[in-house]
Amino acid sequence: MINLHPGIILLVGAFLALILRQQLLRQGIMILAPALALVSLLNIRVGTSFSYNFINDMELIILKVDRLSWLFGLIFCIVALVANIYALHVKRRGENVAGLAYAGCSLGVVFAGDWITMIFFWEVMAVASVLLIWNRKVPEAIKAGFRYILVHFFGGNLLLAGIFLKVSEGQIEITSLTNTNDAAFWLILLGISINAAIPPLHAWLTDAYPEGTVSGSVFLSAFTTKVAVYALIRIFSGTEFLIWAGVIMALYGVVYAVLENDIRRLLAYHIVSQVGYMVAAVGMGTYLALDGAAAHAFSHILYKSLLFMGAGAVIYATGKRKLTDLGGLWHKMPLVVILYMIGAFSISGVPLFNGFISKSMIISAAASNGMLAVEALLYLASIGTFLSIALKLPYFMFFGPDRGIEPKKLPTNMIVAMVMGASLCILYGVMPSLLYQYLPFGSIYQPFTIEHVISTVQLLVATFAAFWIFIPRLGGKHTISIDTDWFYRKPLVYFVNFLIDISYIIRFQSGILGNRLIHFLIPFFTNPLKWLKSTKDEPAWPVYSENKYRFPIGTTILMTIIVCITVYSFIWLT
């Protein structure tokens, strides 16, 4: 079979979904396009590359496959299939198209071999993803979408500025920039950091992801941040400052998740936390750490999309999204509880679930690098993950006080997608070699040592005990948490209003002053003949007379003659 770019297959699928009006045909495409992309990915050999001659003899490398991009491509194709199945019942065409296009562009970034291709897909990805938020079509979602897209355009422009610097130096291919420390390095790092949601640049994520449509948020949870992690591994591996950025991220998300009341926002804070592990691993830069980052991104996409599918199923069935409104659902939707818990155990790193095989790689990498504090703090963050995702959220969402909610029946496709996600989480957790054989940097790691398993079990049991004591204090509260988006939601609004007021005052006042000035000056600019002494006796109140302002007729004749002489002499002389 010929090699096709999997991202392009999805983009073609998105285009077909755009022009097809029948939902049945669109549903066919939503399954067929990701499935074909997956098949074509499995057929692509590492080392393949397609290039295309762009303007000015620039050779754009649209597809460049190495072990790293292949692994990310694989998980993106899998999650595109799962999320599209989850979204099959959605009738809004725009949302169907946006999901496919978003997945396609993510694959475009992953397989891009040069900066120009990368920034192109990077920007289209931002546009496609905001459509998934706007499709919820309520004012909150539209506002959150606007904030989301503005932050992403800002980040995209920083990246673009860095890329201009790179390309103008003649470096078109994407290469590692570690330790270059020039302007391009910082611009590109900042642009990617915004997408990776490194605090304080993370607020777009927790602001917008909970506002997406039920199925849209599943797509959102999978792609943008993990594309950024991929870019960080490729471009910035071993940049030490990322270690601490990652540790701060991991703990930051944990703290906010304890306070959060909105179920999908709680999950979103744990995207920040989990991506923190990957960012820290990129900073460490050893082969074990980088493999850990790639493996954790792989696992994270599976379990986090499963968690978002579970939370989305609850929101779909009950119409409620806050812990304070939910409770007592476990006997009404037992299947969702089981599937959600599989995702929750995976993210917490319970042995035999897929978080365990990847998270422990990163913590072990920190230990073997001699980074005592990093190891301890990442370990601490994993306590918070178990506490919020696997204990607090399910306890108050499914168990806890019964609020007498009657959930709607879920469409079969949602259940099928969740079962697929859950089976993959368990499959990779039980057979880690399925993932380890594809790891890009070839490190060797054994997760199931008795030491690891016992310490994980002890950690989780102790966390559970502490949770059990603190249950009365952990319930959701009717509050929201302010985060760094406060800066552009409060002071920036006041600042912009202030600037508008200032400019209004300047315009208004200058209008008044200008008017006064003109009225004051008018008398000085009247016809100067008025000042000459008249030869006739004029009436006291002068009557308008044209003759007074007219030149004598002879003047016109004189001027005509002068012009004729000049023109003729010019023609004669030359």
Binding site: R136, V138, P139, E140, A141, T213, V214, V254, V255, Y256, V258, L259, I315, Y316, G319, K320, R321, A367, S368, G370, L372, E375, Y379, L380, I383, G384, L387, I450, E451, I454, S455, T456, V457, Q458, L459, L460, V461, A462, T463, F464, A465, A466, F467, W468, F470, R473, L474, K477, H478, T479, I480, S481, I482, D483, R489, K490
Partner: protein
């Protein structure tokens, strides 16, 4: 589940895990805590309490606001 049952289950698992740790685990020690029997139990418990207390304190002190803090509030559902 009642408080007592949970505490009994918790105690049994912790005890079993400590026994297994003492009998079977040969830790490769990079820091002292890797060889400390039952360290993860203590770390997990204290860590969890610390996370809850610090988060709740930070929430009360700086972070949490009323739901309609950003103009008009969030009344929507899906």
């Amino acid at each position: 589940m009642s408080m007592n049952k949970v505490l009994i289950i918790f105690g049994v698992i912790s005890f079993a895990s400590i026994i297994i740790e003492i009998l079977f685990v040969q830790p490769h020690i990079q820091y002292w805590w890797h060889g400390f029997v039952g360290f993860d139990l203590i770390f997990g418990f204290i860590g969890c309490v610390a996370i809850i207390v610090i988060s709740k304190f930070a929430g009360k002190a700086f972070i949490q606001r009323k739901e309609d803090y950003y103009d008009g509030g969030d009344k929507s559902n899906d």
